[in-house]
Subunit: 297 residues, 2 copies
């Protein structure tokens, strides 16, 4: 269990051509830039990636483009959780086959109110069908979007049954009490908070890093925080990162991040979103950049 | 716009083999039986069908089995709405290509809090890509499960833009006020309530029928209600149907329906569910059949 993923991971935005097809070139270029700027790894196909607006074939194609483009698969945790078991199995096998470090796996998210027993059975079925010792699963707890919580009871069952496979969790609950519970009650579980607002507090309790949407635009600030979290001045690094985060999330996160990259790179191609997402309007865009300026970004 | 689907439609259960693969034979047999018992049509791949636990290929295969098995495609409204536009386009084209009467289309359901503008853009993109005059879309409003509501504003936009394509809605809100609003405010919209508990009231305001899970086990009772809703004695037919419904939904609906068919047919193969669904335990099963007996079913 050495060399497990740790540090700042960016759930990478997915760029689209005007006809809404995924843009491989901009995608690979952004991924390379994020690594160059200090990200320790990437999470293709997280919520921020509009991943659930992509088909299976589109995800496979983008991931292959990334690995063929020279990205180290050992730095990739790939979102593979879909609503239907055969689909999750297919994407997971594909990521493991390419040598990716792990997969970030949503629970089956269409049906709501399912029991821990049922969710356990779904995860177990996927793991058993993939049947590959290299598989490392990070559970994806983002109940406000998925509508399906990863409860402590479910985590306990999965850790008992698959201790070498179910090794971590991304906690995007936005609830510090939940993150603290994970860190305190599940020793050995690799916990990535889903926001840098609590990164320092989480690192001090044993978190292994952070998987955060804003790494798409603030990789350097987050890398500084990760490098300096044990040092004097950590609070100032935390506050700097948090102030950028608060400015970005003053607008809808995914359109805001794309607007920031479009302006930074002078590349309006980045403004395209796949429905149901829509771009920021002019006043929202102006408010975003005013908030960022105020945050010193 | 003659010969539009009307009457009692069953969102058909999906049977599975022990290895969790879909069971074509039991599926086609159930569909045939439901038509024989008085259903006016079928909705393969609704929520009750565990449709969102099926892959695209599995849905295509089951639908082909049904049509090849002799089912009239003109009596089929096929669930095709997925989270990603390319997937919804693919399933919709497939259903239209087979001559199906319509499709029941969920909004993209992973991302929450999307604007009507964004949801409109998603539906519009699908309709324009399918690009087939035969396409008839029934919107699928089931916010407690999908997490994404079909608002009056969205319906209005879609009806204005695609009056001959977006022709109806299944209202599974469980909220009579919403169903009444649809019937009163959208003349010409083909409204199917998603539960027979309000069928008589809805028919009297212009609903065209009902798409209800319990048609899987009570097609005859529902057919009697549909045939007799204008006659004396309609209230008694409504109460008979409602009492069965209440008994079934005293337990989790999908496992309960499968348990009823398994017992009726003496075929435990029907008890298999795909995770995250789990079957009823012994005490739940006993409670279900006690409630059904009390309801005179």
């Amino acid at each position: 269990m050495t060399n497990l993923p740790a540090g700042v991971f960016s759930p990478v935005l997915t760029p689209f051509h005007e006809d809404l097809t995924p843009d491989r070139e901009r995608f690979v270029a952004l991924c390379q830039k994020l690594i160059d700027e200090g990200c320790d790894g990437l999470v293709p196909f997280g919520t921020t990636s509009e991943a659930n607006s992509l088909s299976i074939e589109e995800r496979e194609d983008l991931l292959e483009a990334l690995v063929e483009g020279g990205m180290d698969a050992g730095g990739l945790i790939v979102g593979t959780g879909l609503a239907a078991i055969p689909d999750t199995v297919r994407l997971t096998r594909h990521a493991v086959g390419l040598g990716c470090a792990g997969v970030l796996m949503l629970p089956p998210f269409y049906y709501k109110g399912m029991s821990d027993e049922g969710l356990f059975a779904a995860y177990a079925e996927v793991i058993e069908r993939v049947a590959d010792d290299r598989l490392r699963v990070y559970l994806y707890h983002i109940p406000k979007v998925s509508g399906v919580a990863i409860t402590p009871g479910l985590i306990g069952k999965l850790r008992d049954a698959f201790p070498d496979t179910v090794i971590g969790i991304k906690d995007s609950s936005g609830d510090w009490d939940n993150t603290r519970m994970l860190l305190e009650d599940f020793p050995g579980l690799q916990v990535f908070p889903g926001s840098e607002l609590i990164m320092l507090d989480a690192m001090r309790l044993g978190a292994v890093g952070c998987i955060t949407a804003t790494a798409n635009v603030n990789a350097q600030g987050l890398a500084r925080l990760y490098a300096g979290w044990k040092e004097e001045g950590a609070e100032a690094l935390q506050e700097a990162a948090s102030s950028v985060r608060r400015a970005v999330q003053s607008q809808a996160m995914v359109p805001a991040l794309k607007a920031i990259i479009a302006r930074r790179d002078g590349d309006d191609g980045w403004l395209t979103l796949r429905p149901p997402f829509v771009g920021l309007d002019e006043s929202q865009t102006n408010a975003l950049f005013a908030a960022l300026e105020e945050a010193g970004f």
